[in-house]
């Protein structure tokens, strides 16, 4: 139980996937313009990450490892993720066309959201057990969502800020992310596994 709580805290605050580990920067920059899309993306990522980790952990432990096929890890994992994303896309299109439209190109891009692949690879490489892996994926995706939503809140206001032309858009977003990252540095050293 203690480990699980540590995992949750560590991967939401201390080793935040976006601000500390640099996973999933593309969607972080791409969909953080509006709060609404940021929340939609967050939900999609939480779902895909957790599901993907669940499946890949099982596949790795019960298929790849026993047959000594560890080197097929990357190919297998990315395929699992791609299929899952396809599934989420289909479901989303049926259930909420508005959300589907809002997420636009970024939903297929969850496949190439390295945070998802990273979480599945790390769950295996850190030798987490099944429950720990799921909790890890959940925490990592919540950490991702936290960073994304904070960023969306800031960017909605940045729209109205005056700044040199060259800084506009991604440049200022990255600098803001840097400052956010400094803020999150404050959590460092509080816990370790």
């Amino acid at each position: 139980m203690e480990t699980l709580i540590s995992i949750i805290f560590i991967y939401i605050f201390i080793e935040n996937f976006v601000l500390h580990r640099f996973f999933g920067i593309c969607p972080f920059l791409g969909v953080s313009r509006k709060m609404e899309t940021a929340i939609g993306m967050s939900m999609a990522v939480v779902f895909v990450m957790t599901m993907a980790t669940l499946v890949t952990w099982l596949v790795y432990t019960f298929v790849l490892l026993p047959y000594n096929l560890g080197y097929l890890q990357i190919v297998t994992f990315i395929l699992v993720i791609a299929s899952l994303v396809q599934l989420v896309e289909t479901v989303l299109r049926k259930i909420s066309p508005t959300l589907y439209q809002g997420l636009g190109i970024f939903l297929p891009l969850i496949t190439t959201n390295c945070a998802v692949l990273a979480v599945t690879l790390l769950a295996v490489r850190l030798e987490f057990n099944f429950v720990e892996s799921i909790v890890f994926a959940l925490a990592a995706s919540i950490g991702f969502s936290l960073a994304l939503i904070i960023m969306a809140g800031i960017r909605e206001r940045l729209e109205f800020a005056k700044m040199p032309d060259a800084l506009q858009g991604s440049a200022v977003t990255l600098i803001t992310a840097g400052i956010l990252s400094i803020a999150f540095l404050g959590f460092q050293g509080m816990l370790s596994l």
Partner: protein
């Protein structure tokens, strides 16, 4: 447009005008994650270029055989295969680099830069042009990695060609206190943000 220059154009387009990082904001994760040292940044660039080159080559070779409905999964499998080969080679021949880059090597799979080139270019264009385009995009990415890593290593560590003690060059005297923030995640974001602003400024001024 002279046919002779097409290849050269395909090759150089990715460097500045359509630089995958500064213009299209692709491949940000490894860009931020491994640029603590110049050597790591350069290594990452070479690895990505190798995958981009192999991927564009394969896809354009088989472009008529790949059914368009399932092209994305096939592209991904091709990239993942190449990445695994690159990771194995790194582990065998460049163990230090392999350890330093860590999980960012398998994450080359997710680099939108490669998938983007496959989808936009290689699946439609002939082999040689595609290969040139793939190398060009990879080099553009390497350029960005090298610039950012240069800035971060000089400011964050006060050295060049580190951290290997055999090659490292300490740029400043022993009393130099490095700006450690640039070696840390926060500094990566800030340095890249400022570089991006600089790039925007120059492209606007000189209308590149």
């Amino acid at each position: 447009m002279e046919p002779k220059n097409i290849y050269l154009q395909d090759l150089t387009r990715g460097l500045v005008k359509e630089n995958p990082v500064f213009v299209a904001l692709l491949g940000m994760c490894p860009l931020l994650g491994v640029t603590g040292f110049l050597f790591y940044g350069f290594g990452m660039g070479v690895a990505t270029t190798a995958v981009a080159f192999g991927g564009t080559l394969m896809v354009s070779l088989f472009r008529n055989l790949i059914p368009s409905q399932v092209r994305i999964p096939i592209f991904i499998v091709i990239i993942a295969t190449l990445v695994t080969v690159v990771e194995m080679s790194l582990e065998a021949f460049q163990p230090e680099l392999h350890e330093a880059l860590g999980v960012f090597v398998p994450l080359i799979v997710c680099n939108c830069l490669i998938l983007g080139r496959l989808e936009a270019f290689s699946s439609k264009k002939p082999v040689l042009r595609s290969a040139a385009d793939g190398i060009g995009a990879g080099l553009g990415f390497t350029l960005a990695l090298v610039i950012l890593a240069f800035v971060r290593e000089v400011l964050g560590h006060g050295s060049l060609l580190g951290p290997n003690p055999d090659t490292v060059i300490q740029l400043f005297g022993p009393n130099f206190e490095p700006m450690t923030i640039f070696a840390q995640p926060a500094g990566a974001f800030i340095a890249l943000g400022l570089l991006l602003a600089l790039f925007n400024m120059f492209t606007k001024r000189f209308n590149i």
